[in-house]
């Protein structure tokens, strides 16, 4: 085993299932793992940014717990508003056509007040202002400070060069059906970007096509980094920048069942995958995946955190157990070698004494 160890952590994208990564981080802290660099896509990028802008690993985990805990405590009455969207908007994301929707919502409200009837409850959904959760926004404002990123862990963000929301969606469908893969995502080292671009890039990485507008940075439109290299999840599982940064052990977290990302694409890297040992799906039905992704059921968040914690202990624990056996073997061999070094002198001493007996 080498003494030099640089550990990278890949936080994949997966919408509201990003809560799983809080459990992963808690378990890694408990196992005493040091993290030297982080990369993330989509929700993984936001989680990674909060972790990287924290003064310590411990504080970062506390902040993430607090953030996801706040999201989990949302009232059941708000369940028609996806929690994940609320989280993104609180982080500063603007919904597609938010201005138009806002005007329609304001006009509808004014007409309702004028004619004296109440709007249906779901109508509030049209208002971007309603989607913005005040406590969440306060936490995001407090924790997602780009000034603090400069002193934090190196953070790499996956972004997808967007050609327009509808085009991106079609490209993803094509890739899903195996006709043609989407172009690869780009990986940007957040701390080396100009400070005014950092939050833009961060939000761009989580900009779900059609729901959120791509972010324009230096004339380039960037959206959800999870879309790139769709068939191999190249963009959603951004390991490449960590390997290029010299990480010799990379811990990869997945936020989907049966993630098609393959460690075989990186034959020289030491990769420790944390895959869900039970299904991450919580919602049932034809749109269950979307409901989990957008987080309609925020009460599932604690279960994802718990699952992330257990899966990490299981997957990392298995590797540690094997490593421990190897380590003990090497230690015992070294001990044997050390012990054998004294044989010659002991034998000679005895031989000398025995020679005097004759």
């Amino acid at each position: 085993m080498s003494d030099f160890m640089k550990v990278g952590l890949v936080l994949s994208g997966g919408g509201a299932k990003g809560a799983y990564q809080v459990g992963v981080l808690k378990a890694l802290r408990e196992l005493g793992t040091r993290i030297d660099a982080v990369s993330g896509a989509s929700i993984g990028a936001l989680n990674g940014a909060i972790l990287a802008s924290s003064p310590s690993f411990e504080t970062g985990i506390q902040r993430l717990e607090e953030l996801w805990g706040t999201l989990a405590k949302r009232s059941p009455l708000d369940m028609n508003i996806p929690g994940y969207l609320s989280l993104l908007i609180s982080a500063g994301m603007k919904m597609y056509g938010a201005g138009t929707v806002d005007i329609v919502a304001r006009l509808a409200n004014r007409a309702a007040q004028r004619f004296g009837y109440a709007l249906p409850k779901g109508f509030d959904f049209l208002s971007a202002g309603v989607l913005c959760d005040k406590p969440l926004q306060a936490l995001m404002d407090e924790y997602l400070v780009t000034d603090d990123l400069a002193n934090g862990l190196p953070l790499y963000i996956s972004v997808y060069r967007s050609l327009g929301g509808m085009y991106d969606l079609l490209a993803a469908f094509q890739a899903e059906f195996g006709f043609a893969d989407t172009p690869d995502s780009e990986f940007l080292h957040l701390q080396t970007l100009p400070q005014e671009m950092q939050k833009e890039i961060l939000l761009a990485s989580a900009a779900i096509p059609l729901l959120f507008a791509p972010r324009q940075t230096n004339g380039t439109l960037y959206s959800d980094g999870g879309q790139g290299g769709w068939q191999s999840m190249q963009g959603n599982t951004p390991i490449t920048p960590l390997l290029e940064a010299g990480c010799n052990l990379v811990i990869v977290t997945h936020l989907s069942d049966g993630s098609p990302w393959s460690r075989q694409d990186f034959p020289d890297a030491t990769i420790l995958e944390i895959r869900p040992q039970q299904s991450l799906a919580r919602a049932c039905g034809p749109l269950g995946g979307s409901r989990d992704l957008l987080g309609f059921d925020s009460d599932k968040i604690p279960s994802w955190i718990e699952q992330g914690y257990r899966d990490t202990l299981h997957c990392v624990g298995r590797v540690m157990s094997a490593g421990k056996s190897r380590h003990e073997l090497r230690q015992s061999e070294a001990r044997l070698t050390l012990s054998e070094k004294g044989n010659a002198s002991a034998d000679q001493a005895l031989a000398d004494v025995m020679a005097q007996l004759k």
Binding site: M1, S2, D3, F4, M5, V7, L31, G32, T33, R34, E176, F177, G178, N248, L249, D257, G258, P260, S262, R263, Q264, A269, T270, I271, L272, E273, R275, P276, Q277, S279, H314, C315, V316, R318, V319, M320, S321, A322, G323, K324, R326, H327, E328, L329, Q331, E333, R335, L336, L338, E340, N343, D347, L350, M354, L357
Partner: protein, 303 residues
Amino acid sequence: MSEQQPITQQSEICQILTCLPEKFVVDFANGIDVARERQAYLKGRSGFAARLFDGFTGQGARHQAEINASLTDGVEGALNWLKDLSESLASSTLAIAQVNDRVNSLKLDVAKIATYSIDTRRQLEHMAERLSERCEHLDKQVARIDFVQRVQLHLDSVFNKWSAGRFNSFSLSGRCYAALEELRWGAFGDYCRQTSGDDRQRLLENLSNRVITHLTSDSKITRRERIATRERWLERPVGRDVLPEAGESLAYLGDDHEPHQSPFVFAASQVPEELPLHLPRLNSPERVSEAMIGELFLEVAYV
């Protein structure tokens, strides 16, 4: 580890991921979870539509290929580990064989040391025996020297008394008898009874010489000059300093001597009216000395 401590299950190194694990170990151990997760996912895709979709998009085959790759990696990892273990085991077995050789060698050395120890003990016992004998001999020598010393002191004491005039109350032959009788009942007499041969002969010669010396001195004649037995040798001294009971004392001391066996001693102690037939009527100091020594000490040897 300085003065290396053994690693236990509780050691910190085993509790936290602080050392870079080997790649094949990670692939081997983690590959199990990866393959199992993909397998569980595939198992859940058994519905018609899912199978159709996976078959159409090729995702099912990709998953299977990944599972196969993980399993292959696992087998390769197992092979690597087995190879490593085999090498380690071979090394350990070799070490055990070497330890066994060294233990055997050590046993042989111990056997040699035990043999040496037994020989040493025997030699020590033999030496102790010899030493004991030597000590016993030395004790005897010391005792003999002590005895000889006491004999010499006794001899000196008696003749010093004679020289000092303590025997002046006796006749010339009475002085000789008194001195020899005192020597016979002390250390000198004991020594003469115990010793024999040349040693005894030398002792008696020495005694004889000292008696002759005193007799010649007292009688003022030479050692071979003969004078009358009755008139000179048995003549009792007279004068103020003469003890009146001196004659009776000598008679008491010599009352067990017979005139025909010890004529000189009988005559000196009893001073009879009629001298024994075998007693010469003229005697020299040498003759008196030798005859009386012969009667008192040579007789003693046969007691």
